[in-house]
C-alpha cells in the first residue's frame, strides 16, 4: 500500500495561484512598452517632457495623432507604400512557395534535398551583408529606390520559410485526393489547383500572417534600398522622423502605435488560421 498524497484540490489551488501570478507578470513584461507608448501618444508634448513622468495622461489629447498621422500626408503615403508592397509580396511569395512546397512534398526528385538546403541557407546570412550587393544589383537593374525592388527582395527572403511551412501542410493532405483527380482526367497542375490548393487554405493564411508581420516590421532593407520618400516604407518613416526632428516622443509614439495597428488587426482576424497553420505545418511536417 502506498501513502495517499495530499488531496487533489489543495494542490491545484496553490498551483493555480502561482500560474496566475506568473502569467500576470509575463503579461506586464510583454505589454509594458506598448502600453507606455499608447499612453504617451495621448499626452501633450509638454506633459511628455515632464520629469518625473506622469503615468496616465493628465489631459487626454489626440493632437499627436492628428499631427503625426492623420494630417500628415507623408506618413499616410508611407503606409500606402508598405501596404502595396505587402500585398504584392504576399501574392508573389505564396505563388512561388505553394508550387515549390507541393513539388518537394510529393516528389522525390534528384537534387531536392540540395535545393532545399540551399534555399534555407539564405536565411542564415545577416541581412546587412547582402545589402550592398543588392544595392548594386538593383541599381544595375534600374529598380533601385522603387517599390518593386522591395517586393522582390521580401518575397525571396520569405520564400524559404513559407516553403517549409507549406510543405508540412501538403504532407498532411492525402495524396489519394490528387490521384483521384488525375484519374478523373485532370493534369498534375490541374489536380494541384483544384484539390490541394483549396485544402491548403489555412496554411496559406498562416503564411500570409507571417509575411505580413515580417514585411510590415522590416527596417534594414527598407532603409538601404530605398532612399527617396516616394517609395519609403513605414518603419523607415518612423526612423526618419526620429532623426530629423530630434526625439519628440509624443509624436513618435503616435506614429509607432498607428504603425502597430494593421499587424494587430490582421493577426486578430487570422489568429485561428495562424495557430492551426503553424501546428500542422511546423509541428507535423
Amino acid at each position: 500500500m502506498n501513502a495517499m498524497r495530499p488531496k487533489r484540490k489543495l494542490r491545484s489551488i496553490a498551483g493555480k495561484a502561482m500560474t496566475v501570478i506568473f502569467l500576470f507578470l509575463a503579461s506586464v513584461f510583454a505589454v509594458a512598452p506598448i502600453l507606455w507608448a499608447v499612453l504617451t501618444s495621448l499626452k501633450s508634448p509638454k506633459e511628455v517632457a515632464l520629469y518625473p513622468p506622469t503615468f496616465f495622461p493628465q489631459h487626454l489629447t489626440f493632437e499627436n495623432y492628428l499631427g503625426a498621422v492623420i494630417n500628415n500626408g507623408t506618413y499616410l503615403h508611407y503606409l500606402w507604400n508598405t501596404a502595396v508592397i505587402v500585398v504584392a509580396a504576399t501574392v508573389l511569395c505564396l505563388i512561388c512557395s505553394a508550387h515549390a512546397a507541393h513539388a518537394v512534398a510529393r516528389f522525390r526528385f534528384r537534387g531536392s534535398s540540395v535545393l532545399m538546403f540551399a534555399m534555407f541557407s539564405t536565411v542564415m546570412i545577416p541581412g546587412v551583408a547582402v545589402v550592398i550587393p543588392l544595392y548594386l544589383l538593383s541599381v544595375k537593374a534600374g529598380i533601385y529606390d522603387t517599390v518593386l525592388v522591395l517586393i522582390l527582395v521580401y518575397s525571396a527572403w520569405l520564400t524559404p520559410t513559407l516553403v517549409w511551412l507549406l510543405r508540412g501542410f501538403v504532407l498532411v493532405i492525402p495524396y489519394e485526393l490528387e490521384e483521384a483527380a488525375r484519374i478523373d482526367g485532370y493534369s498534375r497542375l490541374g489536380a494541384f489547383y483544384r484539390v490541394t490548393l483549396p485544402l491548403l487554405r489555412p496554411g496559406l493564411l498562416a503564411g500570409a500572417v507571417l509575411i505580413f508581420a515580417n514585411i510590415w516590421n522590416e527596417f534594414l532593407l527598407g532603409y538601404s534600398l530605398v532612399q527617396s520618400e516616394t517609395a519609403r516604407v513605414i518603419q523607415v518613416g518612423i526612423y526618419a522622423n526620429l532623426t530629423e526632428v530630434g526625439v519628440q516622443w509624443s509624436r513618435l509614439t503616435a506614429a509607432a502605435v498607428t504603425a502597430m495597428l494593421p499587424v494587430m488587426i490582421i493577426y486578430a482576424f487570422l489568429q485561428k488560421a495562424f495557430v492551426q497553420g503553424l501546428s500542422t505545418g511546423a509541428v507535423k511536417g
Binding site: M1, N2, M4, R5, K7, R8, K9
Partner: protein, 359 residues
C-alpha cells in the same frame, strides 16, 4: 461479501447536461466485470470516473472501502489499458514498462525482476529494446497490458482495448486476456461496445443505456432472462426475434395474436392479461423447423458452414431461424416453426420490460 469497488448514487454532469444518472454498482474482489452498451451510453465516462480522470458530480466511489472521489489517479493504485494503448513513443518497451515503477521508487533489482516476469507472461522478452512504432498492433496491446500488470494494482481498468485490432486478432486476444485474468485474479473492469466480448469474458455484465444501468447479471442471465427489449436485442447474435401483437386467452391458454391473426403460444403462467399489447421474444435457435407450428415462408438462406441461417416471414413479421445444423431448405419453401414456450420472453409493449420481472 467484501466489495472491491463500489459506486453509490453516482451521477455525472457535463455543464448542465447529466450523462450518468444515479448508478449503483458493487464489484467483488477478483471479479471480471464488463461494462457494455451502445456508443454514448456512459460506460467510458463511468470507467474514467473510477480511474479518477473525471470528477464525480454526485455520489461516492470507493475502492476497498476507502472513498476515492478526491484522490488523484496516481494514488488510487489502479492501472488502465487505453484503447489507443497510449505507449510512450520516445521510450523503449522496457522503459515503458518501467515508467510506473520509476514513479514509485523501487530499486533497480526489483524493477528488473518485475519487468522480466511480466515480459515472460506476455511473450515480450524479445521486444524489450524496441520502440512502440516498430511493434505490431497486437504487440503494442500486450505492452499496454504489461505496463498495467507490472505495477500489481488493486484494480485493472480496460477501455475498449481490443477495438483497434482486426477480427482474428481480437478473438485471439480475448482468450489471452481472460486467461491472464484467471491467473492474476485481480479485480477487472472492462469497457466494450462489443457484446461478444462481454459474453465471452465477463463474470458479470453491466449493460448500460443512456446513462442508466439497464441490467446487471451473469452473461447467461442476460441472455436467458433479459430484463427489457433493449437487453434482449443487444445481447446475442443474430438478434432475438421480436413479434408484436396482443395477448389473447383461448381454451389452450394464452397466445400472442399478431395483427394478421397468427397465433404464437405463450407459457402457462404468463403474467399477462387478455388484450394486453405484448412483444414475444424468441431467439433464432429456439425456433425449430418441425411438422407442426407457425407457418413461415423462407426468403433467404445463409450457409455458415457448420449450420445455416434462415430469414423468412411469418405472416407480416420477419423472423430469423438458426436450426443448428445444415438442413435442405431452399428459399421459397414454406416451413412450420415450433418452439418451447418456456424459452420465450414476453415483454409489455409500453414498458418494454420483461413481464416476468413484474412491472
Amino acid at each position: 461479501m467484501t466489495v472491491a469497488v463500489s459506486l453509490r448514487h453516482v451521477r455525472k454532469k457535463f455543464g448542465t447536461v447529466e450523462v450518468i444518472h444515479d448508478v449503483d454498482l458493487d464489484i467483488a474482489p477478483g471479479e471480471f466485470v464488463v461494462l457494455v452498451g451502445p456508443s454514448g451510453c456512459g460506460k467510458s465516462t463511468l470507467l474514467r470516473m473510477i480511474a479518477g480522470l473525471e470528477d464525480v458530480s454526485v455520489g461516492e466511489i470507493r475502492i476497498d472501502g476507502s472513498l476515492v472521489n478526491d484522490i488523484d489517479p496516481a494514488d488510487r493504485d489502479i492501472a488502465m489499458v487505453f484503447q489507443s494503448y497510449a505507449l510512450y513513443p520516445h521510450m523503449t518497451v522496457r522503459e515503458n514498462l518501467a515508467f510506473g515503477l520509476n514513479a514509485r521508487g523501487f530499486n533497480a533489482a526489483t524493477k528488473t525482476k518485475k519487468i522480466n516476469e511480466v515480459a515472460a507472461v506476455l511473450g515480450l522478452e524479445s521486444l524489450l529494446a524496441r520502440y512502440p512504432r516498430n511493434l505490431s498492433g497486437g504487440q503494442q496491446q500486450r505492452v499496454a497490458m504489461g505496463r498495467a500488470m507490472v505495477r500489481n494494482p488493486r484494480v485493472f481498468l480496460f477501455d475498449e482495448p481490443l477495438s483497434n485490432l482486426d477480427a482474428k486478432l481480437r478473438a485471439q486476444m480475448r482468450v489471452e486476456v481472460k486467461a491472464l485474468h484467471r491467473r492474476l485474479r485481480t479485480t477487472a473492469i472492462y469497457v466494450t461496445h462489443d457484446q461478444i466480448e462481454a459474453m465471452t469474458m465477463a463474470d458479470r455484465i453491466v449493460l448500460m443505456r443512456a446513462g442508466h444501468i439497464e441490467q446487471i447479471g451473469t452473461p447467461l442471465e442476460l441472455y436467458d432472462r433479459p430484463a427489457s427489449v433493449f437487453v434482449a436485442q443487444f445481447i446475442g447474435s443474430p438478434t432475438m426475434n421480436m413479434l408484436q401483437g396482443r395477448a389473447k386467452l383461448n381454451n389452450a391458454g394464452y397466445v400472442l395474436e399478431t395483427e394478421d391473426g397468427l397465433h404464437f403460444p405463450l407459457r402457462e403462467n404468463a403474467q399477462v392479461h387478455d388484450g394486453q399489447p405484448i412483444i414475444l421474444g424468441l431467439r433464432p435457435e429456439h425456433l425449430k423447423p418441425s411438422d407442426r407450428g407457425v407457418s413461415c415462408i423462407v426468403e433467404i438462406v445463409e450457409p455458415l458452414g457448420r449450420e445455416i441461417l434462415l430469414y423468412g416471414r411469418c405472416g407480416a413479421a420477419s423472423v430469423c431461424v438458426a436450426p443448428g445444423s445444415r438442413l435442405a431448405i431452399e428459399p421459397g419453401m414454406t416451413i412450420d416453426l415450433d418452439y418451447d414456450v418456456a424459452n420465450a420472453c414476453i415483454f409489455d409493449v409500453e414498458t418494454e420490460r420483461n413481464v416476468r420481472n413484474g412491472d
